[in-house]
């Protein structure tokens, strides 16, 4: 069965694909893509290239300012090199963000497809449950769950996903509900295809566009949420560094070392902004009906 997305003819080169071209025409989206690629590379390779270890405590070099002396970004209250810590923390923050996105998107898509296709009371029950979860302020629910369950990085990933799947579910459900009435679905039903087959082999490929956009924005949100709970002390626990818990102790040192607060914040801003830009660009590139900029 043919898909309805603008996937392009299989023969022409991928960079001639209309979606790719529209995405690349989006200045901000490209900037976002470049930023996040650089950031990911830095977090993956940086700690190997820098001379310091992220856990190495050096009480002679505490609170060093950035750009003075040997430490590029200065040191933290225990004398650990800030640059290395920042990049190691980036690994954790980015990985948690990415994997919670995967979980949330999986769960949300499943719920959304079933709710959208089945309609009726199944849709009502599932969508009301989505609304129920959305009625809690995210951070309140996250914190309560974080205290209830162990704060290991895996658990944090799971509970962030638990508070992020709802948006994906809603988007998918609406899309699937509108696609349900199309001819190719009718044809599939006439051919006697099972409901599962229609839902996941016919309809789902056509919802991939909105799902990818939602997934990108979910990563952005997940990174932000991890930063929030780690800042409050209930997320990633020290000595494991994350951008959020690096900010946790920074408030008391604001007068003497403001960069301890500013620098991790900028890292978070860079990562989240990149994903938001990319998500916006993808949304415009994949939307057949949007106005051409």
């Amino acid at each position: 069965m043919t898909t309805l997305t603008a996937a392009g003819a299989p023969q022409s080169a991928w960079w001639r694909n209309r979606v790719v071209r529209r995405f690349l025409g989006h200045r901000l989206a490209v900037v976002g893509l470049v930023m996040i690629t650089l950031l990911s590379l830095a977090c993956a390779l940086g700690p190997h290239l820098l001379p310091y270890d992220s856990l190495q405590i050096d009480l002679h070099a505490r609170f060093a300012s950035p750009l003075t002396g040997d430490h590029y970004l200065g040191t933290d209250p225990l004398g650990r090199d800030l640059a290395t810590r920042l990049l190691m923390a980036g690994r954790i923050s980015l990985l948690v963000g990415f994997f919670s996105m995967l979980l949330a998107t999986l769960a949300g898509t499943l719920v959304g497809v079933v709710a959208g296709y089945m309609g009726g009371w199944v849709n009502s029950v599932l969508m009301r449950t989505v609304d129920g979860f959305l009625s809690f302020p995210t951070l309140f629910l996250l914190l309560a769950l974080a205290v209830a369950l162990k704060p290991s990085p895996t658990m944090i990933t799971v509970i962030i996903a638990l508070t992020s799947w709802m948006t994906v579910a809603r988007i998918v459900a609406t899309e699937v509900a509108s696609l349900k009435e199309r001819e190719f679905v009718l044809a599939g039903r006439m051919l006697g295809l099972s409901r599962a087959h229609i839902m996941f082999r016919e309809i789902l490929p056509n919802v991939m566009g909105p799902i990818i956009v939602a997934a990108t924005l979910t990563v952005a949100r997940a990174i932000l949420l991890e930063a929030y709970i780690s800042f409050l002390g209930f997320g990633i626990q020290p000595p494991l560094p994350s951008w959020g818990n690096m900010l946790n102790g920074a408030q008391q040192y604001l007068d003497r070392s403001p960069w301890l607060a500013i620098i991790p914040g900028l890292a978070i801003a860079m990562a989240v902004t990149s994903f938001n830009f990319i998500g916006d660009g993808l949304r415009d590139a994949l939307d057949v009906r949007s106005e051409l900029k």
């Binding site: 009301r128 951070l139 914190l143």
Partner: protein, 316 residues
């Protein structure tokens, strides 16, 4: 209209039930559950704990426990705080006004500034202003609220000394002016993210409305552009604005939690965190349920207002 309101009201009740179920699940996930306070006392034997569990009815089927818990909630018995033995309901109630003050002022700032920026961005599309506003909004949405708070404290309290770094008022000076002085930074910090949200919304709503037929008619009639925008366009964006305000409530509460932490503001958010740190789970659960209740009631009120204001619903 009555039919619509009735339907909406029923939906809210269903939502409340679902929310209470989720809350009950969270309550039972907490290590030790309702007898957690006794788990902290090392003098208790396993036998004692089991006896208390039986007394509290914890060995009955889960759904029976849920119904009892929900019934107690409805009657206003939200449990007693582990810390000082006060009624959870009164503890929560004491901290709510401070948070409402913060949320209210932040909303006022966010809506007023956000809508102005949004409208200007829509009427002067693709201008430098619009570009900066759009990118700025996206960046503001990507930065954690507490970072703005920390930077704000550094710049305005430590470096410039213009604004106080925390608390609701300075001890010894309880004047209104002092209160307002302390309110400025927290509410602006909380408002920042929402200014971005409102400006993006207003821009989209204005662009939408400007494409409508009645705008062409008004222009053809010779109505000045300014009047067209102000009166007709904004008027039509007002309805979705009310709905959006309701939808924003959970994120306002989340932002308030973080802002209150950074600025030591004595509200619900700070209470939530303090209770978490002290393992005061009854208060934690009380606040969790209250926040959901606030959201559901807030959305219901928003829908009621829309129903009264929108002639399409009012006259249906």
């Amino acid at each position: 209209m009555v039919e619509f309101l009735l339907k909406r009201f029923m939906q809210s009740i269903v939502l409340l039930v679902i929310v209470s179920i989720i809350g009950f699940v969270v309550l039972n996930l907490i290590p030790g559950g309702p007898i957690a306070q006794y788990a902290l006392d090392s003098g208790m034997t396993q036998d004692d704990k089991e006896r208390i569990a039986a007394q509290l009815g914890l060995n009955r089927p889960l759904w029976v426990q849920y119904l009892e818990w929900a019934w107690r909630l409805l009657q206003g018995d939200w449990g007693t705080s582990f810390r000082d033995g006060n009624q959870v309901f009164s503890v929560v109630a004491r901290h709510v006004p401070a948070t409402l003050l913060l949320m209210g002022s932040a909303s006022v700032i966010a809506v007023s500034i956000g809508t102005v920026i949004g409208i200007r961005g829509a009427t002067h599309r693709h201008s430098v202003f619009d570009y900066i506003a759009t990118v700025g909004a996206m960046v503001a949405l990507s930065i954690p609220t507490f970072w703005f708070g920390l930077v704000g404290i550094y710049v305005f309290s430590l470096e410039l000394g213009w604004l106080p770094a925390g608390n609701m008022y300075t001890i010894g000076d309880g004047s209104v002016l002092n209160h307002m002085h302390h309110l400025i930074m927290p509410s602006v910090v909380l408002a920042l993210v929402h200014i971005a949200i409102w400006s993006r919304f207003m821009r989209a709503a204005t662009i939408d409305a400007m494409g409508q037929e009645f705008v062409k008619t008004a222009r053809a009639k010779g109505v000045s552009e300014r009047r067209v925008v102000m009166k007709h366009v904004v008027g039509n964006a007002l309805l979705p604005m009310i709905t959006l305000a309701g939808v924003q409530l959970p994120s306002l509460l989340t932002g308030a939690l973080v802002t209150e932490t950074v600025f030591t503001w004595p509200g619900m958010g700070r209470l939530f965190l303090d209770s978490l740190s002290n393992s005061d789970y009854p208060v934690v659960m009380g606040l969790l349920m209250f926040s959901a209740l606030l959201t559901i009631v807030g959305n219901l009120i928003a829908d009621i207002v829309v129903a009264m204001v929108d002639p399409r619903i009012r006259l249906a």
